[in-house]
Symmetry: C2
Subunit: 111 residues, 2 copies
């Protein structure tokens, strides 16, 4: 275990967050780390509310893929949904996700 600047190390070490915090943080980012999921989020970012079949039609994949990924996004609390008859309408869960996504989009578009 090498160490160049022991003061720097203990300073940063003292300010470190909990493992749980980094776990949550990385999981939030992980939710947006798949192209299919970013497409879904972007679609819901443009249109308040969409059902599974419509998202599949927009993105051009099977309903099954979308349903699986929506479940992931639901578990990660990025989207919520309500059912009307046999149709399930999904929307973004929370404003922070909106900001986070927009920030990522800005970053990519300035690349």
């Amino acid at each position: 275990m090498s160490c160049q600047e022991i003061e720097k190390v203990s300073l940063v070490k003292a300010k470190m967050k909990s493992d749980q915090c980094f776990q949550d943080l990385s999981e939030t980012f992980k939710a947006l780390s798949d192209p299919t999921r970013t497409k879904i989020i972007y679609a819901l970012y443009l249109e308040e509310e969409l059902c599974v079949g419509d998202i599949a039609a927009i993105i051009g994949t099977s309903d099954s893929v979308i349903s699986h990924q929506l479940r992931t996004l639901r578990n990660m609390k990025l989207v919520r949904y309500h059912k009307a008859g046999k149709v399930a309408f999904y929307s973004l869960d929370d404003v922070h996700i909106n900001n986070l996504f927009a920030e990522g989009l800005r970053h990519v578009e300035e690349m």
Copy 2:
């Protein structure tokens, strides 16, 4: 292929970004989707510049783990480095990453 609201679908479809865009977007988020990497980024977010051994000491893992992940972060253009003798000093590459990370941190801390 079911479709509830064909106008919505074509509207969103027309505004869709390129596959490349979503690829880049998801890869940016993927860079931050691992706890070890978020720890590294957070350390460099607190301290402008750190060397491999010091990051390892801060996080409490082997130099090898840090070096591997720093390579990933380097490939993804999130960090840059310069060598002084045998010591390699790393820092965050770009301001957008700073914003993106801060936004994620804000989100997690309000959970």
